[in-house]
Amino acid sequence: MNIVMQHLPIILIATPILMAALMILLRSKPRFQKDLNVTVSFLLTILSALLLLQVWNSGIQAYGVGEWGKYGIILVADLLSAGMVFLTTCISFLSLIYSLDYIEKRSLNSTYYPLFNLLLAGLNGSFLTGDIFNLFVFFELLLLSSCGLVIANEHGGVTRISDKMEATFKYLVLNMLGAFIMLIAVASLYATTGTLNMADISVKLSAMSAAGTMPWHVFAIALMFIVVFGNKAAIFPLHYWLPDVHPSAPSPISAMLSGVLINVGAYGMIRVFFLIFRDTLYIFQPVIIYLALATIIIGAISAVAQTDVKRLLAYSSVGQIGYVFLGIGLGGMYAITAALVYLVNHAVAKSMLFLSSGGIIHHAGTRDMRKMGGMVDSAPLLASMFLVGTMSIAGLPPTGGFIAKFLLFDAGISEKYYFEIGIALFFAVFTLFYMFRAWLLMFWGEKRDVEKYGEYSSHKASSLIVIPIIMLASAVLIFGLFAEPLISLATATAGQILDPQPYIQAALTEVVR
């Protein structure tokens, strides 16, 4: 047990990679493959909870891979990283259970498990790494594995394969360009400071800034990082790939993409701007705030007109991530807390909505909301679960979304950003409108398209599909009713983000095992 506790960060990254290789070898034994993957995924959830506990109890953990100190790759688990890893492993465990029944058998046995594990490794790695080039490597890992997963086949074939190809092509080209921009930024940063360790870069840049010799191109590099992470998180000028890609993926993968993968962008923005580019933040704070506001507006307006349920949820993701970035841009202690609470609530609620939209699509046999209706009789469970998610995204009590929106707007008002909060509040009403419009269209009213409808035509929703949805929905309610633990965790995390000295101390101290 002791040795596991000591090597927790690397275990969380290496185990999924090892599993990915094992899953390819085990593809002739589907039963064993499934059991092994679910068990390991559950163990990873427990391990990430242990990591969070360890960080909470005994401060920031730095892990030097290969014991090269600050010259090698280090993994650093502070509250932000450990919390994100915990969120990721929980949602991916539930998505994995869901996909056991949802994904087509042939695709599941051959490519789905390995790619899913690689995606998990990429996510955990990019949250835990303390090396900026390594961050790029993990970004590429999760980009390629998520491309493979978007193309995976689901039961029933509600999405045409050509749509998936088109969406994936768009996603891949844009994200490759994002990766090139990130490489340019990393190379310039390396040429400026002579190190790739994020804590070390931070020390050197603040020394330069204190001496007044900070070169001007640091600002350009910071701008490039806004483009990179904005592209990952679908911020306003770079948002247009998301509503194509997320709906085309099978539902558990949509849940992973919309719930977890766009958090990577928010995480990167927090990490890079509050650790490395602290001294350029005074210029970029307004940029982030107004990009976030534009994202909120575009997301809300586009979502109102959608007829495809998953496309509506994807546009809603665009809008909601705008609120998270608004919190990051406001930048005070309270605002960062609010952004983190918002991030967690959105991740849970949105992955729950995508999972239940998969159940709904299989129930109705179509993705077009205009052809659905009256499903509250035939699928009461899905209807109530979807209602919980709808309320959370719209920000109604007693769900977590209410707490998150309340904190965010309260933070903005107390920091006197009246105009910005006014716009955000106005478009939050849009959220209420389009989410409830979707719910009413799908579940209320008369049955339409009677001959095809209401017979679970393509696939029956089994307990494997229902249980993850119920668990996530109860998490949404718990975050609304007992918000205090999450808020205090987010407050502690925000404290660590705004005061990076402990992080730098932990990362630069040599650990000899």
């Binding site: 490597v137 590429e140 390629l144 050509s162 088109e166 092509f169 080209v173 990766a179 090139f180 490489l183």
Partner: protein
């Protein structure tokens, strides 16, 4: 002079790559992407230090050519918190930064994998749509 030529080459490669990415043919877009990736790789190499023909290895003679014994420490002593290389005062270790070359190798491998994937994707798109014209790929528009 050397650096100017290198910068110029990188700039021209970026230009060509951007031009190709804006074409309508999928294959041209992919070629453009890989040209941009080469430009980025050259940029990374150029971010390291150039020093003539020096190898990216720290040699024991404390530099290149000079053979006098210096007090330079080349191996880590982790228990005493010593991380190599540490040079004594008055001496300097001259070597070309090896890290950028490691970075470039990683970047090349990654872009190889991505390009292989995107080429297969382009072939499948051609099979599904019967065309490589990007303007025809518009089923998701709207």
């Amino acid at each position: 002079m050397n650096n100017t030529l290198l910068s110029l080459t990188i700039a021209i490669l970026f230009g060509i790559g951007t031009f190709l990415i804006l074409r309508r043919d999928i294959v041209k877009v992919i070629i453009g992407l890989s040209i941009i990736s080469h430009a980025v790789n050259m940029l990374i190499v150029s971010s390291g230090v150039f020093a003539g023909t020096k190898p990216p290895i720290i040699t024991d003679d404390g530099g290149h050519g000079a053979s006098e014994t210096t007090g330079t420490i080349f191996t880590d002593v982790l228990s005493e918190n010593i991380l190599a290389p540490i040079t004594t005062a008055g001496h300097s270790v001259n070597y070309v930064d090896p890290l950028v070359q490691a970075l470039v190798l990683t970047a090349i491998v990654i872009s190889l994998a991505t390009t292989a994937f995107i080429l297969i994707l382009a072939y499948r798109i051609y099979e599904e749509y019967g065309t490589t014209d990007i303007k025809e790929l518009r089923r998701l528009w709207g």
